[in-house]
């Protein structure tokens, strides 16, 4: 007989840890799974290891990161059952959660499932983005947290969004040589965001932090080129040059590392596979599971907390984890509705506060149109199967009507990443070529396995 838990939480980031801590208060049996080697998610990635083994990096990462230590500490002391290195590859309709750990596939049963799988950096397809030396800007920040490493040699950052500036400021502090910051937004974005400024002032600490990061970068003497276009990475075996157009002029830098960023988008692999209903964020152009005010999805017994629901930052994620756990405790009969409602008040207040800044940020930092629909035909859209923008456009002309047919025509989305890196771009290109909206075109169907699994592992499924 496989073990059955009241609650299984997938993802031990801000939302997952908070939810586990809340659920633990009501004697609910909880298991937390995460594919990483320790708790923290991306925002607090490796916080314990960093504090213990890399104190210099821990210091450099500052107070926002160090807050993760408080959560990690509480999580550890509460004695919550946690399996690291556990990659969920399938959840059955009868709620068996299958995951790979140490080369074996294991399964547990679950009454309520909380998906806290967070968000990922939006892939930024440009010509040459598969060259070693090109990576995400938030990825570079994650690398700093997870391994205490930074790019060596000359660096250029390009894109837009708060995390671009956060990554830049941390690299400045780590004494990395930054040649330039290329901003893909221009003055008109500020005008569009302006009406939302008064509301954003209610969470003024976010705006002040943004200004502080920008000031730090400009004090370091790093030039900023705003409104750049036609970004291209070049090199033979690895990145050598970045080229772009600024105010009608072609420019280029020789460099070792290019960091790209156009915001972050929810990880929807698991909620797709579970058949949850999703809705489309028109401004930030991503899909997210449709949730009620407690984090319940359209599928009974499945809830979502954190940035995997709606991208709103670590502190909102933490509060949403508490709310989801309170609701689940109530559904399981561990607390009454009145207890749930009164315990939820402070978390709702926190969410209202942190969300005040979101409309301003979402209008200020829309994804770059060149990222959504790469204009250069040679741009690889699907990195795994190496399918170019030209091939996607060609397949539309040959009659691929939807994304499933697009897979069959081109193999895009069928490599090891399972479309995580190309789905949004493929949909935008198809929509653009057919004159439809990306929302109408939809998304790849989520199918098991969500992670590569060998036939041997499949045949040897064990109960845990």
């Amino acid at each position: 007989m496989k073990q059955i838990y009241d609650l299984v939480i997938i993802g031990a980031g801000a939302a997952g840890m908070a939810a586990a801590l809340e659920a633990k208060k009501y004697q609910i049996s909880v298991l937390v799974l995460d594919e990483q080697s320790e708790v923290g998610g991306q925002i607090y990635r490796s916080v314990r290891t960093t504090q213990n083994l890399r104190p210099e990096t821990y210091e450099l990462l500052g107070a926002d990161y160090q807050h993760g230590q408080t959560l990690e500490n509480a999580f550890r002391k509460a004695g919550i059952e946690f399996l690291s290195g556990a990659a969920v590859w399938q959840v059955d309709p009868d709620r068996a959660v299958h995951f790979l750990r140490n080369g074996k596939s294991l399964q547990v049963g679950v009454r309520r499932l909380l998906v806290a799988t967070g968000a990922m950096e939006r892939p930024v397809p440009i010509p040459g983005w598969t060259l070693p030396g090109v990576m995400g800007a938030a990825a570079a920040d994650v690398l700093l947290k997870s391994s205490g490493a930074v790019p060596s040699g000359r660096v250029v950052l390009s894109g837009s969004g708060p995390l671009l500036w956060l990554a830049a400021s941390r690299l400045v502090e780590a004494e990395v040589e930054i040649l330039a910051i290329l901003e893909t937004i221009n003055f008109s974005s500020y005008l569009k965001a302006l009406p939302y400024l008064p509301q954003a002032l209610r969470a003024v600490e976010y705006l002040l932090k943004g200004l502080r990061l920008k000031r730090q970068v400009s004090r370091a003497g790093i030039p900023v080129f705003s409104g750049i276009q036609n970004l291209r990475a070049e090199g033979t075996q690895r990145l050598e040059t970045v080229c772009f157009t600024h105010r009608g002029q072609s420019r280029k830098f020789e460099l070792e590392t290019l960091l790209l960023h156009e915001g972050i988008v929810p990880n929807t692999q698991l909620t797709r596979q579970l058949g949850c209903e999703h809705s489309w964020n028109k401004l930030q152009r991503y899909w997210h599971p449709l949730l009620d005010e407690w984090g319940n999805t359209s599928v009974e017994g499945v809830a979502v907390a954190g940035d995997g629901g709606i991208v709103a930052g670590a502190l909102t994620a933490e509060a949403s984890g508490h709310l989801a756990a309170l609701e689940i405790a109530c559904q399981l009969g561990a607390i009454t509705k009145n207890q749930r409602d009164s315990a939820s008040k402070s978390y709702r207040k926190a969410i209202r506060h942190h969300q005040a800044v979101r409309p301003f940020l979402e209008h200020l930092y829309p994804p770059n149109p060149e990222t959504l629909v790469p204009p250069d035909d040679a741009t690889l859209v699907c990195r795994c199967e190496e399918v170019s923008a030209a091939q996607i456009r060609q397949a539309v002309e040959w009659g691929a009507l939807d994304l499933s047919q697009m897979k069959a025509f081109t193999r895009c989305g069928m490599g090891p990443c399972q479309g995580r890196m190309c789905a949004l771009t493929v949909a935008e290109i198809v929509a653009n070529t057919q004159g439809k909206s990306a929302q109408e075109v939809g998304f790849f169907r989520g199918r098991p396995p969500l992670k590569p699994i060998t036939l041997g592992q499949l045949a040897g499924i064990a109960e845990c």
């Binding site: 080369g103 990922m120 995400g136 997870s146 391994s147 205490g148 490493a149 790019p151 199967e385």
Partner: protein, 98 residues
Amino acid sequence: MLKRIQSSKSKKITIFFEEKQIAAYEGESVAAALLCSGVKHIRTAPVSGTSRAPYCWMGVCFECLLEIDGQPNLQSCLIPVQEGMKIRRHALNDGDSA
């Protein structure tokens, strides 16, 4: 490609990449340890044979797939180094070197 920030408390260990001995530090990922040691790419793209290195560092891009201690297709940006680990690229490449 990458360099380490000073880390006064992490212990130096030894790992093996394509049979060669490499110094790594406790608490860092396999992919980071390799790229900090002058390894220039992590995997070879099966379709074109071009060189790749991690793009996302968080487990979604799968550009860090390596064989570790005999287990194929592991996401090396998620796995911390351990003393004596034996790491290889997948065999479908055409004799490229670090």
